[in-house]
């Protein structure tokens, strides 16, 4: 008997369920960006906690895989800790916080700053897979729109942004077109991460548990963010580097440090930040502490 709890199948799901999910994943990979319906199972965690991503991970993980789980870029937040513990317990796999060591990265809201490599798989947790949903509530209609490539409505949303805010104000879940065909919701990652999906050498899988959809972007696939000719797509920029590691090409989180208006901007990707600090890079916070 292995060290895993014997009452569970390996990685919690039974083999028939895994088989069903793997078929959905294979179909999703063959039609990049297309939402494949699947029979989503009840998981021992609430919807919104990543039940779709967990099912995808459970179906592809093997005993030799090394798993990394992040939530908003961090390895140590509740969602990440719980899901990591779930797989440690039900699959007994090795886990890591280092992006380069992981074979599977399950993520909520971020793509790691360290570029992913060939052979790695990233699994996104998706709340609402349908990019057209907020403009067209009927599922029958959105399916027809995808089938007939009627994506004018997506630009209506971007038009509204510009009309109201003067620029495209969508900052997360920014719609992309995959391989020139399907418009896809990249899950609520900041648009900062959209370019990382473009021609990524890693396999990208998306699981929406409540909405019962799986979709995928195979390695080296075109992922283009939608825009207007005179309002091109731009990622967020920050006017200061990370306060801890000094990185100026990363996505930052604003952290409130006291109740007198104190705040600092730090890397949202904790692994990337630690890695840089270990290599000797420092930010202004560290300089200040050294001066005191």
């Amino acid at each position: 008997m292995s060290a895993t709890t014997p009452t569970y199948a390996f990685a919690y799901l039974d083999e028939q369920t895994k088989r069903m999910i793997r078929r959905a994943i294979l179909k999703a990979i063959t039609i990049p960006g297309y939402q494949v319906p699947f029979a989503s199972r009840e998981m021992p965690m609430p919807y919104g906690w990543g039940t779709g991503g967990v099912q995808v991970t459970a179906s592809i993980i093997g005993p030799n895989d090394v798993l990394k789980v992040i939530d908003q870029g961090a390895d140590d937040t509740t969602n990440a800790v719980s899901i990591r513990a779930f797989f440690e317990r039900t699959a007994g796999v090795a886990t890591t916080t280092r992006t380069t060591e992981a074979t599977i990265v399950q993520t909520r809201h971020r793509v790691p700053e360290t570029p992913l490599a060939e052979g790695q798989t990233i699994v996104f947790q998706v709340p609402i897979p349908e990019p057209l949903r907020f403009l067209e509530p009927r599922e029958t209609e959105t399916r027809v729109m995808h089938a007939l490539e009627e994506y004018g409505l997506m630009h209506v949303k971007l038009y509204e942004d510009i009309a109201r805010h003067g620029h495209i104000a969508t900052t997360y879940a920014y719609p992309v077109k995959v391989e020139g065909r399907y418009v896809m919701d990249p899950s609520p990652i900041p648009k900062f991460d959209n370019p990382k999906m473009h021609r990524s050498p890693a396999l990208q899988l998306f699981g929406a548990g409540r909405e019962k959809r799986i979709y995928a972007v195979p390695p080296y696939t075109e992922v283009v963010s939608l825009d207007f000719e005179d309002h091109p797509f731009r990622i967020q920029s920050f006017d200061r580097p990370c306060a801890l590691c000094g990185a100026d090409d990363v996505y930052l989180d604003e952290v409130v440090t006291d109740d007198r208006g104190g705040r600092m901007f730090v890397c949202s990707d904790t692994d990337h930040c630690e890695d840089r600090r270990a290599k000797g890079f420092t930010g202004e916070q560290v300089h200040q502490e050294a001066a005191e």
């Binding site: 007939l148 009627e150 004018g152 409505l153 209506v156 038009y159 009309a163 109201r164 207007f228 005179d230």
Partner: protein, 258 residues
């Protein structure tokens, strides 16, 4: 007017189970012509309009349309993609209730621009220019371009719906009681506007109305329906001045003398 019909309807019937929606309807529509379908509530005029515009599938009969390339095509044989493309480029549909034809949650500018974006316009500045131009043509002030239709009056919504439909320069527009639910002065203004747009753009129009005054003002030809059948058809002036069928005589007689 050209000598080849733009739209040709043959022996069209629509049944809802045992009930008759409309029966054995045949007519042709020529380019640049405005055809009114009149009749009382329940006479099948909206059913007919929906069948002709492919929004409903007829039980029997055929509707053919001369595409932009000059070929007459049976609409039932079009694929869904072709049919939907036709509906949002070469056709327009003005609903009685503007909320059915507008996106109430997005601005007037986006409402006008939606069809253009659907056929591939990707330049914000040009979309904006076109929207401003069309709002002007339907007499909506330029500074309302970023307001949502929920903030518009009934008449403005209806004019916005007209602009949204005409922006792709359609050749055929269907209108279902476009002046219904508007008060008399607003109706008159909308009719004026429709009449000038129709003649300026050379539109073909099929307009459903129960209001003979609307038919007289806009249409060259009319069809009178009762109980799902056509009881009389002909030039509007002829039908209204010299009605042959007893039901038409009753309709004409029921207009108060002015």
């Amino acid at each position: 007017m050209s000598d080849a019909p733009l739209l040709s309807v043959r022996d069209l019937s629509k049944r809802y189970g045992a009930r008759v929606g409309c029966e054995d309807i045949s007519f042709d529509l020529w380019p640049g012509e405005v055809l009114a379908i009149v009749g009382e509530s329940g006479s099948g005029k909206t059913t007919l309009l929906n069948c002709v515009s492919t929004r409903l599938q007829p039980s029997s009969g055929a509707v053919s349309y001369r595409m932009r390339d000059g070929v007459l095509r049976d609409l039932a044989e079009l694929g869904e993609a072709e049919r939907r493309f036709l509906m949002r480029t070469d056709w327009g549909f003005v609903h009685q209730n503007p909320a059915d034809g507008l996106r109430m949650r997005v601005s007037a500018g986006a409402n006008v621009g939606e069809r253009l974006m659907a056929i591939g316009e990707r330049h914000y500045g040009r979309l904006r220019e076109t929207a401003t131009d069309w709002l002007g043509r339907v007499e909506i002030a330029e500074d309302r371009i970023d307001d949502r239709p929920v903030a518009f009056s009934g008449g403005m919504r209806q004019r916005l719906q007209v602009a949204r439909n005409l922006v792709t320069k359609p050749r055929l527009v269907f209108m279902d009681e476009p002046t219904g639910g508007l008060d008399v002065s607003v109706q008159a203004r909308l009719l004026d506007l429709l009449r000038s747009l129709v003649s300026e753009l050379g539109l073909s129009v099929i307009i459903v109305t129960h209001d003979l005054a609307v038919a007289r003002l806009l249409s060259q030809r009319m069809i009178v329906m009762k109980g799902g059948r056509v009881v009389e058809s002909g030039l509007t002036d002829r039908v209204l001045d010299d009605p042959h069928h007893a039901y038409t005589q009753l309709l004409v007689a029921s207009i108060p003398e002015s």
